[in-house]
């Protein structure tokens, strides 16, 4: 089976751009979810107005960001079948199950509860409303776990056996099927990546919070109490997040030579090892190029590590500075530095993914299935159309929504859309003739529910 090489390149570009674009939003969503859930817990327990306003302000940014994450995630789910149907043919017996678990066990609940959290703001008891956000947060992490089980299997296939019939009874050619569930669910390549990403996402959110708060303190916003607390939350969270990310990342790097020796050799730049592995792989799998792109593999890793060092030099002294109220209010150079840092975790995370995914080439399932054998039988023209459509759409979405996010952030905590009680403002906006409800349309039953006005 031979696919047009252009189709393969275009399909890879499409996957890289859509996955990268999607993850820009996932990173902040995952991190901010936990932080906002903690702030809302404080708000419910303390009842302090400043905490409640913090929930609405940071929650609004979380929702704006989340929306694009969901929209871009739609393409991700369908793309496997559309552009990479060979993967389902060969490894579907294993690979699809974790995706199914992600949608049904995690995302379904996450999405339903997120809708209730956003739109049920003044309609639930405050403890129930808090519980909704915690469910959203936990299912979001569960979602990340299942996705990384899928990705971990691609990087380090475990718990499978070959099946002559392929992944399904009527399928053509050979494939693999599940042999050891526990091995798949505890795949170190998935678990380590999960905690690495958990730390990275928390770091992204912490740096984002610190940067946005610094902007408002720099401009001497009247909301100084809210942003002082927020800046401290961000800066103090960034340090443990950074160490968690680095520690798990270190363990991952250490285990790499056992799991993916070629990736490790390219990363370390050991020419002799690369040549030896290339000869071994060619002898085992037939002639071909088994060396991933040095520029992407090494480049990705170096950028990731360099950004980590930069963040370390800013976050560690920052945690000391943040202890002094005067510095939090007046140290304007530090404010600027914190604002400038906001993009850095995104750069590190994207570079990390490039290292992980490009370094696995030419394999889509390490040592089992080559990327060129997984791509769908599509013409270059079809693939070009879809790349043009999704590429344009993603670029527009990413641009417009970052603009929206920054504008919402810059506007400050003065009555964000999230948690605004539309029933108060809407009654005077209603024009004549709108009050006649239908036979089944009773009065607004929302008014009878417990109201938690922020």
């Amino acid at each position: 089976m031979c696919v047009d090489p252009e189709t393969l390149d275009l399909a890879r570009w499409q996957f890289a751009l859509t996955a990268g674009g999607h993850f820009l939003f996932v990173a902040l969503t995952l991190g901010l979810a936990g932080v906002v859930a903690c702030i809302q817990t404080c708000a419910v327990v303390s009842g302090a107005s400043v905490h409640q306003r913090m929930v609405r302000f940071w929650g609004q940014l979380y929702v704006v960001n989340y929306a694009v994450g969901i929209v871009t995630g739609i393409v991700m789910e369908f793309q496997f079948g559309m552009a990479w149907s060979g993967l389902g043919h060969y490894a579907g017996g294993l690979f699809g199950a974790s995706l199914a678990m992600e949608t049904v066990v995690a995302f379904f609940i996450e999405s339903t509860f997120l809708g209730m959290w956003i739109f049920g703001w003044n309609r639930f008891n405050k403890w129930v409303h808090l519980g909704l956000l915690w469910v959203v947060t936990l299912t979001a992490y569960m979602s990340a776990y299942w996705i990384l089980i899928t990705n971990g299997f691609l990087n380090n296939p475990v718990g499978y056996r070959s099946s002559s019939s392929g992944s399904s009874g009527s399928s053509h050619g050979s494939g693999i099927e599940l042999a050891d569930t526990l091995a798949v669910l505890t795949n170190p390549s998935a678990l380590l990546a999960f905690f690495h990403i958990l730390g990275g996402a928390l770091l992204t959110a912490a740096v984002f919070m610190a940067g946005v708060s610094a902007y408002h303190l720099f401009r001497r916003s009247p909301e100084h109490e809210l942003f002082r607390k927020s800046l401290r939350t961000g800066v103090f969270t960034s340090v443990p997040a950074l160490f968690l990310t680095a520690a798990v990342g270190g363990v991952q790097l250490g285990s790499l030579s056992g799991i993916q020796p070629m990736k490790a050799a390219v990363f370390a730049g050991k020419e002799s090892t690369i040549a030896r592995l290339q000869a071994e792989l060619a002898a085992q799998f037939g002639p071909g190029d088994y060396v991933p792109s040095t520029a992407l593999t090494r480049g990705g890793a170096v950028v990731m590590l360099a950004v980590f060092a930069l963040l370390l030099y800013v976050c560690l002294p920052g945690a000391v500075l943040a202890c002094f109220r005067k510095a939090v209010y007046r140290f304007r150079a530090w404010h600027v530095l914190l604002m400038v840092m906001v993009p850095l975790p995104y750069v590190a995370m994207t570079a990390g993914w490039v290292f992980r995914e490009a370094g696995r080439q030419p394999w889509v399932v390490q040592g089992l299935l080559k990327t060129e054998d997984a791509v769908s039988q599509l013409s270059a023209g079809e693939m070009r159309t879809s790349l043009a459509v999704f590429g344009t759409l993603f670029t527009l979405l990413v641009t417009v929504n970052w603009w929206l996010l920054l504008r919402t952030a810059a506007r400050g905590p003065d009555d964000p859309a999230l948690g605004r009680d539309e029933r108060d403002s809407a009654t005077d906006g209603a024009t004549g003739g709108d009050a006649d409800g239908g036979p089944g349309g009773g009065p607004d039953d929302g008014a009878r529910r417990p109201v938690w006005s922020l």
């Binding site: 496997f80 199914a100 399904s168 009874g169 209603a430 239908g438 929302g446």
Partner: protein, 270 residues
């Protein structure tokens, strides 16, 4: 459980989530299609979208779950089908993303111009999704789902399916809306006007819902699903897990609808 029982259950789960999407997600898409007719002017359009907004996340997730079940239980066939219907899925997903973007932007405030643009995205996106579904379902029903379908079946199915989506949206509007948009929706579903009968809206919605539910079941009836199910080791774990989760998902959805429904004369969610 034997492989045959598991295969049947897997097909039932896929059908259940797909039907859930057509009935629930179809209602908000349909309402988006008829938005310019029901809502004349920015305030009325806000009223109409207010009936959709608290539920659309919970509605569209049924299709995400259906696609997940499809990938998990029938991975090889999913690949074949999605690859074959590639050029239909591109506009379907595009329309879906555009519709959602419109809804989020509409909620985030902004100028009157931005509202008009957002309303346009909702309507345009909803139409694109409904028309694409017509083409996709024609492909499934036509007997060659592994390749792109053309011919008279598509010419017939595309407008018919889009009309059913719009009718379902109108019926949903006749139950959920108030004021002028409500009157227009009732008139279009044949329940309004001077001769309009009381208590006609809900049966009409039940009727369009049944038609929407039947749509994917009829179109997909001939798909070779059971024989392309994944092998025992995965199916034996996946199907019971999905079966345990499904009642919880349904309960969460019932809670959402109970907590956020109810009609009001003024927008409450955006």
């Amino acid at each position: 459980m034997s492989q045959t029982v598991l295969e049947t259950l897997a097909v039932a789960l896929l059908s259940f989530f797909t039907v859930g999407y057509f009935v629930l997600g179809g209602a908000d898409l349909g309402l988006g299609m008829v938005l310019p007719y029901l809502g004349r002017g920015p305030y009325e359009r806000r009223l109409v979208l207010d009936a959709v907004v608290p539920f659309f996340l919970g509605n569209e997730v049924w299709l995400i779950a259906a696609a997940g079940v499809f990938t998990g239980c029938f991975p090889a066939y999913e690949g074949e089908l999605f690859q074959g219907q590639f050029m239909v899925l591109v506009p379907l997903l595009t329309g879906w993303m555009v519709r959602d973007t419109g809804l989020w932007w509409r909620r985030n405030g902004g100028s009157a111009g931005r509202h008009i643009l957002a309303d346009g995205l909702v309507t345009g996106g909803s139409w694109t999704v409904a028309l694409s579904w017509g083409w996709l379902l024609a492909g499934l029903a036509g007997g060659t789902p592994e390749q792109l379908t053309g011919g008279p079946l598509v010419v017939l199915a595309v407008p018919a399916v889009a009309a059913l989506f719009a009718a379902h949206g109108l019926a949903f509007g006749a139950v959920r809306l108030t004021g002028k948009p409500w009157e227009r929706a009732r008139r279009m579903t044949g329940c309004g006007g001077h001769g309009g009968r009381v208590g006609c809206s809900r049966p009409t919605l039940a009727l369009t819902a049944v038609a929407m539910a039947a749509l994917p079941l009829v179109a997909g009836a001939r798909l070779p699903l059971a024989e392309s199910a994944v092998t025992g080791p995965v199916l034996g774990l996946l199907v019971p897990a999905l079966l345990v989760m499904t009642p919880l998902l349904v309960a969460a959805q019932v809670w959402m609808w109970r907590a956020l429904s109810g009609r009001s004369a003024a927008p409450r969610f955006m």
